[in-house]
């Protein structure tokens, strides 16, 4: 059930850490253009490592990442970490501007893009605030705005909402879907939450525990935009039950040869 129009393909990716731990073993999967793919698995299954390999933050021990549009597009990737990862000494606008600044753009030239990114995450009036003045959810929004400011074609998110309360998480899920639909790019979203992955994704990839491998994948064939009605629908509950079943099977698959 691979994507028909792959934008990036992971081919036989293996990763062995210096400690000898095998994080990934022959990991194969494609991500199609404009897909919203969730990578679901228990903690420690190597899903974050896989995401870091796609981003170029880590090198695979074996296998390769193939970009269909040629060279790995460094500036076309936006990455959101588990923690907001903001510079505490810089205000919100300066934090969001960072990727453009590193690319050599002046603050004045970057201003429209920064304002647009902040507006997109609903923080247009917080440009002058400092990170310590923001709530956990707002910090995460800043982190997402920073990832969006370069108008990336790929947005990679590593369990970005795991530390947030449920109400905030729901709202950010809604906002993330809105962002994805307007930016017209591809999202790879790593999570350990079945509910989150079903709500967000067009496709879910389930991984086995260490060593990480693809166990199964599933299309979530519900129309976008998705809202609270979807979150409480019977179809959503059915998908969640199905994905939970796959995840449980994946977790016991580690004992299998």
């Amino acid at each position: 059930m691979q994507s028909e129009n792959p934008a990036v393909a992971l081919c036989g990716i293996g990763k062995v850490f210096e400690s000898g731990v095998v994080a990934l073993d022959r990991l194969d999967f494609n991500v199609g253009r404009r897909e919203f793919v969730s990578v679901l698995g228990p903690s420690g299954c190597g899903k974050s490592t896989a995401l870091r390999i796609i981003a170029g933050l880590a090198a695979p021990t074996s296998g390769e990442v193939v970009w269909t549009e040629g060279a790995a597009p460094a500036r076309r990737i936006g990455f959101v970490f588990q923690e907001p990862t903001l510079m505490p000494w810089a205000n919100v606008a300066a934090n969001v501007r960072l990727p453009l600044k590193l690319a050599g753009m002046s603050a004045r030239d970057a201003a429209p893009a920064v304002a647009a990114a902040l507006a997109r995450v609903g923080l247009a009036d917080m440009a002058g605030a400092y990170p310590r003045e923001l709530s956990g959810g707002m910090k995460m929004r800043v982190s997402i705005a920073r990832a969006l400011v370069t108008q990336p074609q790929f947005l990679l998110l590593d369990e970005p909402f795991a530390a947030l309360d449920e109400i905030t998480r729901f709202r950010l899920n809604d906002d993330l879907l809105g962002v994805w639909q307007t930016m017209g790019g591809t999202v790879v979203f790593v999570t350990h939450s079945v509910f989150e992955s079903v709500f967000l994704s067009s496709r879910i990839v389930v991984m086995t525990p260490r060593p990480g491998r693809i166990y199964d994948e599933m299309l979530i064939d519900a129309p976008y935009p998705r809202d609270d009605a979807f979150r409480t629908s019977a179809a959503y509950a059915a998908y969640c039950r199905q994905v939970s079943g796959i995840l449980h099977a994946a977790m016991s698959a580690e004992a299998a040869p």
């Binding site: 460094a74 500036r75 923690e83 510079m87 000494w89 590193l102 690319a103 310590r132």
Partner: protein
């Protein structure tokens, strides 16, 4: 104030205001009481000023010897701040060098520690043999002051958020971008903490070297005045110069604390106003 239903007779805000008034008033009270007892003992027992001068005489000396003490104070201040500036440049420079090259760190760090642990009063006479006097005094101030800057900045550079470093790499940051946009700002709180310690130490280094130089027969700083006044049994002037030195130390510490508060007030936990 925040909470109308706060129990007890002393809501937090009132208590903390009373607390901060006491924090100022009590030391002042101690000072005045101590000076009065000192004054009384000297007068009642008729102790001669070359044994123990009364506080009033010390203050009078501060005025009457004002010109000479003032120019000495300026000399000591100049040395201290030059030493401190060199310590800042040297400490931060060495820390950056160490963070770039492990080989340089391994080669030099032990000697930085040795310079720090060898008592400066024992080094000063040798420096005075080999260096012109002003350079020797400056070198002493630098030797005792650079180490806290070096050690703290090294710590600060090493504790930069790893995810932020990865983020910078992801966006293709150059080494100098990582240094100036990430590492130096991240290390700033530690660096300022080191500088605050270095301020007091630079004064100590300058004083030690001046006293060593003074006994060799030259010099013009406050410490030299103390040594000189000691030879002449001009005890009131010794006290007056000592008083000026203490005040100088306190002022340097206060200035560096204010600098730290100014630079960090918007973002660092150490300088946030309580309740902000």
């Amino acid at each position: 104030m925040m909470n109308a239903a706060a129990p007890g007779p002393l809501p937090g805000a009132v208590r903390s205001r009373r607390d901060s008034v006491l924090r100022v008033l009590l030391p002042v009270f101690t000072l005045v009481a101590g000076a009065l007892v000192w004054e009384a003992v000297v007068r009642v027992k008729a102790i001669p000023p070359y044994v123990l001068p009364a506080p009033s005489l010390v203050l009078a000396t501060l005025v009457s010897d004002g010109a000479i003490l003032w120019s000495s104070l300026l000399a000591t201040l100049a040395t201290t701040f030059q030493g401190l500036a060199l310590a800042l440049v040297g400490g931060v420079g060495l820390a950056l060098l160490f963070s770039r090259s492990r080989l340089v760190e391994y080669s030099l760090y032990p000697y930085a520690v040795i310079l720090q642990v060898t008592p400066v009063i024992a080094i000063a006479p040798l420096l005075l043999v080999y260096l012109p006097q002003h350079a020797a005094v400056l070198a002493c101030a630098w030797i005792v002051a650079f180490f806290p800057v070096l050690a703290n900045t090294t710590l600060g550079l090493a504790s930069v958020d790893r995810n932020l470093i990865e983020l910078f790499r992801l966006y293709g940051a150059t080494r100098s971008q990582i240094l100036f946009t990430l590492k130096l700002p991240a290390a700033l709180p530690h660096m300022l903490g080191g500088l605050r310690i270095a301020g007091g130490l630079a004064l100590i280094g300058a004083v030690v070297a001046e006293i060593a130089a003074g006994s060799a027969g030259a010099g013009s700083g406050l410490a030299y005045r103390i040594a000189e006044a000691g030879y002449r049994l001009n005890i009131p002037r010794m006290f007056a110069a000592l008083l000026l030195l203490s005040v100088t130390g306190v002022v340097i510490f206060a200035l560096l604390s204010a600098l730290s508060r100014f630079l960090l007030r918007r973002w660092h936990e150490s300088e946030l106003a309580p309740g902000a």
